[in-house]
Point group: C2
Chain length 370, copies 2
């Protein structure tokens, strides 16, 4: 009973992706909410799950972080509950991200779900990610403005960064099965009309700053021997206090060479980009299985399930999962990526069994309990 | 009564600089030690001054860091006292680095002075810097080996990294006024014959790792707005788990663009490379002078002295001192670099006075007390 997305991806990518916002009407026909408000409220009671309640009562914005014990004081209007990375914790909700798996997976962040009462929303704001907002039950009015680096942003509350008034280029109500796509940087504001649920499938990329600083840390840890600037062709400079242009170029070249080193860069990026952006539902096996035990369980017919939304990427002839290199040939990696369920016959050779034993003990795959 | 260096710089740079070690005999004719062992021992009693005593008694290496209170237990042989950055603290000793000021100043580290008794030395080792070792009073036997990345290094003591046996390509005794030049990476060992003093003028460069990590920190602090990876030309990939080669190139390009940005790079490098490598003799003015006071003192004829070995560099049309930008025109900066003593007539215009007031209050220049 998964929802089916109908979208002309070529048209969408050509005309909208990271270019402009759009409403895709009825993209999920006969949309069925994969989660109920009560289930969402239940998830927000868990310590490991990131959640927020935002209220706007009498024009005053307030925001609180979960976990939450009780919702009874919140009344009927002007509050909403937002839960991050629901795809990590709720199997049926996670099916909503499936149709978006055609987009480069290294850019996928999570499925955020919000339940809103009449008049509620998080206020006008700008995000650092691209988002597909799928409307579930109920209806919301969305106003989206154009991209503009000069918008002033301000804290409506210490946990709510809002944006000043903007002229909407989209101002419409959306209902179950409609999608609003908003690229990074476009201001937007959604206000619930009655009770509603909406599902934000988010894609986040890396900033130059994060890239440089993450890579620098990696290089420090992984190239212990210093590569020193050397200039055996030095001529006496006319002004020894002046750093010469060619010296600056040489210094920059040294840094750029590190980045251009594919072994260094790829290994770093693979590990870096597969680190979880939100807590995963990972439970290491304790005590760890040994190889015999592991093989026996598999032979008895138990199947291995991959932890929902654990990050995997392939780069060149290798692959990474959750910050680790996967030391397996590409054909096995392809299998691990494609199949969310694995069984013994697929994993029989010794190398695969040993690697999978490690990943199962780490909790990246687990045996189905049924 | 400064010592005079005679050296054919063109020949030296062409044949030896960062290429191979050499002994320059009698480079300082009639060399006069600018400091006595007693004065050196006195400096090593100061908290702010880095010093070490290394002993090798009965084949056992030991090393201790200063400050030192007493030397009387050390005996007559097999110990030496090494004091770092003496150019920061002892005017006459500092004159020894003057003749080396033709070498790019951004690479200069410090003047290290060692006093050694009969048989003493720090043992065979490899350094991460280029050094001119000027022999003062007494005599040392130096054995220098060839460069080789495969030498094994080991801790002869937790503070002494030694290198395994090597075949000497230089094995000679040097006496007062001789210079031994050793480029980075060549193993060397000096053993004192009788009592001796030696003066190490060191040049240190930046490693790729330091460069990248320092610049990354700067970028994080100075480019608060994230520059996000964007790919509006995205086509659906055949394998969404695979990071495509062009995506990796784009990611690297983003990082490289930061490095190639001259405003960012130059400002960072100027600040970074002028940070002190060893504590400076800086005493901020307390309470700070105000402009009137400052101008009056200058007008009364007092002269300003620059703190010895405070780091200054010029990059393009600006300059940096001790981690700060100098907001003055280049002709004033040239003056500040060339003259170690400044007087009122040179500093009269308002901008210069204001900037110098700030630097004097920070302790970068000080009034001569005489
Ligand atoms: O669901 C909401 O109220 C806010 C959604 C939103 O702004 C987003 O996903 O970027
Ligand atoms: O003075 C000494 O004993 C050691 C000098 C030395 O090895 C150096 O300056 O690199
Ligand atoms: Co948003
Ligand atoms: Co040395």
């Amino acid at each position: 009973m998964s929802n089916k997305l109908t979208i002309d991806w070529d048209d969408f990518l050509t005309n909208y992706w990271q270019k402009k916002p759009v409403i895709l009407r009825d993209a999920f026909s006969n949309f069925i909410d994969p989660i109920s408000p009560e289930e969402l409220a239940g998830l927000a009671m868990e310590e490991e799950i990131e959640s927020r309640i935002v209220t706007n009562k009498n024009g005053i914005w307030d925001a609180n972080y979960g976990p939450f014990i009780d919702y009874s004081h919140l009344g009927e209007e002007n509050w909403s509950l937002l839960v991050q990375a629901v795809d990590h914790w709720h199997k049926q909700a996670a099916t909503l991200v499936e149709p978006f798996k055609c987009i480069p997976q290294w850019q996928f962040e999570d499925l955020m779900i919000s339940y809103a009462t009449q008049g509620a929303g998080v206020g006008p704001h700008i995000d650092n990610y691209d988002v597909f907002i799928i409307q579930g039950k109920g209806c919301r009015r969305w106003q989206v403005g154009d991209r503009n680096p000069n918008y002033k942003q301000f804290s409506a509350h210490k946990a709510l960064l809002h944006v000043e008034d903007y002229l909407p280029i989209i101002d419409e109500e959306i209902t179950a099965g409609d999608i609003l796509y908003i690229p990074i940087g476009f201001p937007h504001n959604g206000v619930s009309i009655g009770e509603s649920l909406s599902y934000s499938v988010g894609f986040r990329t890396q900033t130059s700053q994060e890239l440089l600083s993450g890579f620098a840390d990696y290089v420090i840890d992984n190239l212990p021997n210093g590569i020193f600037y050397q200039d055996p062709d030095l001529k006496l400079p006319s002004d020894p206090y002046r750093i010469q242009p060619y010296e600056l170029e040489k210094l920059k070249g040294q840094m750029i060479d590190l980045i251009k080193n594919p072994a260094l860069f790829n290994d770093w990026f693979g590990k870096h980009i597969t680190m979880p952006m939100h807590e995963l539902n990972i439970i290491p096996v304790d005590p760890a299985y040994d190889l015999d035990e592991f093989e026996e369980i598999l032979q008895s017919g138990a199947e291995l399930y991959r932890v929902p939304s654990i990050r995997i990427v392939k780069i060149d002839d290798t692959a990474y999962i959750n910050g680790n290199k996967i030391p397996l040939p590409m054909e096995t990696i392809d299998l691990l990526c494609e199949s969310e369920v694995l069984y013994y016959e697929q994993l029989q050779d010794e190398q695969t069994l040993n690697v999978m034993l490690e990943f199962v003990n780490l909790g990246y795959w687990y045996f189905d309990e049924e």
